[in-house]
Amino acid sequence: MSDGAAGPAEYTAAGMFDELARRSFVIVSGKGGVGRTTVAALCGLALAERGRRVLVATTGHDDRLAWMLGGEALTDQPVRIDRGLFIQRLSAPACVREYGALVLHSSRLSTAVFDNRVVSRLMRAIPGLDDFSLVGKAWHDAFRGGDYDTVIFDGPATGHLLYALGVPRAIRETIAPGPLTREAELMCQHFEDRSRTAALLVGLPERWPLTELDELGLALEEQVGIGVAAVVVNGLWPTDVPVLEQIDPDGPVGEVAEALAQVCNTGRRHDAELAAWARAQGTGRRTTLTLPWRFEGVGDRQALLELLAAAQCLTTSREGTAGYAVTGGGA
């Protein structure tokens, strides 16, 4: 999808989710505060709607993912939200213990070893083990566990994620061949398989954040071999209140007209930043999905469904979507 050979089906949000639904492992990435968890939840809903058995696994510390999808709280165990949609929190100690149970063929032994205070401290001293166990757990569920069709990984923010995904390669390159390197090699192969693993990048409609998103996409492709399926630009402010210049600024309607014009100016600036970014990408342009800014936040499932319904592909014009006609002059 990222190589410019996009078919017409991809020029809609639904087409993009159809495309993602064919993957086993979807990695949601972006800087802090851009809405990664929201996008992961959105993607989970969209894929479950398509009949996929989906796990949304987050490394976040709060329960927002659960609230958004209509659940109570997140735990170390997968929780079913509805038919095919599951959520889970991935925490490093639990993942290390689970990995230990796999290699020791006994969860009792694994618990005895890894819950030991001194051993758990040593485990924390192994560089990359925490990240490796988190990524490894998500990878295991996506490719070997057999419980899910797709695992959506809501991992750490940009820089940290690159490190975490780079651990298998680092292991392959620095450690003597053994059980760990075999696992790492397999992980690398699965990550590099564009038909099974895809990244979904999330960013904001501002100039530099979009540029940084391009850099993240390149880094993912070059440093860890993961292909970018699409870019989600989150939080576009609205543009659809017409500016009527003849409204008396000192009249009773002046204040609200001015305030909403300001809001729409921000929206138009967002559109302009997005358009400039898209132009700069030229033919190498990535499939891009836009999500509107929600003034009231995304606090529950209803909000998420509304957001999903409002998702648009960048190639679909935002013009003409409002339910009123404006003719003649004006802005």
Binding site: P127, A176, Y324
Partner: protein, 388 residues
């Protein structure tokens, strides 16, 4: 910083709430908060304000956005880990982008038992991996960097833009965590090639080694043990000379500015963050609520809006569906109002729970600040006075 009587926000300056001034006793200011809330912007603004007020100031940032890096001039060909100077109003602000590896390399070079031992450690693949991949390494390096700057004595104030940890505890515990891994009894056992039994761990040594070999391979675990032994000595020497890093956080000359966005959810997170900070003995100087949208335009009524729209359209020679536009305006105004209410609720709750802490609000800036001048305008609103 100390609190000054709070001034109500005036109609023309949307930023406001309590205002704070920098107390001369502060040598280190930690700017903390979740990712994506403008923490680096607030840290840079605070540092710039102090610099213009005549204090020799350095701001240490971690992975600044390109926008800010350009504003601060740290985006050029200068490598991370070197100080870049920004000039504003005749004052100089030192800016340093944290380079984790360089910080650890400096510690290793300075505190190894010999130059040869130092070079050997720098070349150790486990060391290279540790600097990149060990949880807590970035946080440790940030605090160590502040220590080094403090020891160098070139600055009156060091502002640290803290790493965007998922929660407060991660940042606060990082120094202890890194020191602890280096002094781990299991590592000592491993480095001595199994000479001591593992009974004190409450485990059979056979089981322990089987588990570790399954995880990492026997050779790797032995190398790791030897490395941790050597690295523990280096860190021990660094901390013996610098004083415990954890002590820096709770020192009376260290203050904290918590930055967050003004939504119900962020405020709930911030309250939990503040509780942990206070419990650990850190001094909270201010809370900055960023992107605080509090202005709600009055709705003059559907009829008045439709009439005004109709009249304006006629004057402009346009035909418009005034009812549809008025409806959309009402919807959007409602959304703006809900956003403002959420921000207000957050600010009110913060002030109620932390009555003696200044809670400052910063209006959303659109577009976000991209120049030193804009940063300084933000800084002046937040810190009107700085005492020398």
């Amino acid at each position: 910083m100390t609190m000054t009587p709070s001034t109500p926000p005036s109609g023309s300056t949307p930023s406001g709430g309590a205002v704070v001034d920098l107390a001369p006793t502060r040598r280190v200011e930690l700017v903390v908060g979740p990712g994506g809330v403008g923490k680096t912007t607030v840290a840079a603004a605070l540092a710039l304000r102090a610099a213009v007020a005549g204090r020799r100031t350095v701001v240490v940032t971690i992975d600044p956005s390109r926008r800010l890096a350009q504003a601060l001039g740290v985006d050029g060909d200068k490598p991370a880990g070197t100080i870049v100077q920004v000039e504003h109003a005749g004052a100089i602000l030192d800016c340093l982008v944290l380079d984790t590896q360089r910080t650890f390399d400096t510690i290793v070079r300075t505190h190894s038992p010999s130059a040869q031992a130092g070079e050997a450690m720098l070349a150790n693949p486990i060391y290279r991996a540790m600097v990149r991949y060990l949880g807590g390494a970035l946080e440790y390096a940030a605090i160590a960097q502040v220590h080094m700057l403090a020891a160098a004595g070139q600055h009156d104030l060091i502002v640290l833009d803290t790493p965007p940890t998922a929660n407060a505890i991660e940042f606060l515990e990082a120094p202890a965590q890194i020191s602890e891994v280096a002094n781990n009894p299991a590592a000592k056992f491993l480095s001595q090639s199994g000479g001591i039994g593992m009974r004190f761990l409450g485990l059979g040594s056979g089981l322990m080694l089987k588990a570790l070999e399954a995880i990492g391979g026997g050779a790797f675990i032995g190398d790791l043990g030897r490395f941790l032994g050597d690295f523990g000595q280096v860190l021990g020497e660094f901390q013996r000379r610098a004083g415990a890093l954890a002590g820096l956080l709770t020192s009376p000359s260290t203050g904290v500015v918590l930055t967050t966005s003004a939504t119900d959810f962020s405020v709930r997170e911030a309250l939990a963050f503040l509780a942990v900070l206070a419990q650990r003995g850190l001094r909270i100087d201010a809370v900055v609520l960023n992107r605080f949208d509090s202005q709600v335009p009055r709705w003059p009524g559907d009829a008045a809006v439709e009439a005004a729209l109709g009249a304006a359209a006629t004057r402009e020679g346009m035909t418009v569906d005034v009812k549809a536009i008025a409806l959309r305006m009402a919807q959007l105004r409602g959304a703006v109002e809900r956003q403002a209410n959420s921000a207000q609720r957050g600010a009110t709750e913060l002030r109620a729970r932390w009555p003696t802490t200044p809670v400052c609000t910063v209006a959303r800036m659109d577009p976000p600040p991209t120049s030193v001048d804009e940063l300084y305008a933000l800084a002046s609103a937040l810190w009107p006075t700085v005492r020398r």
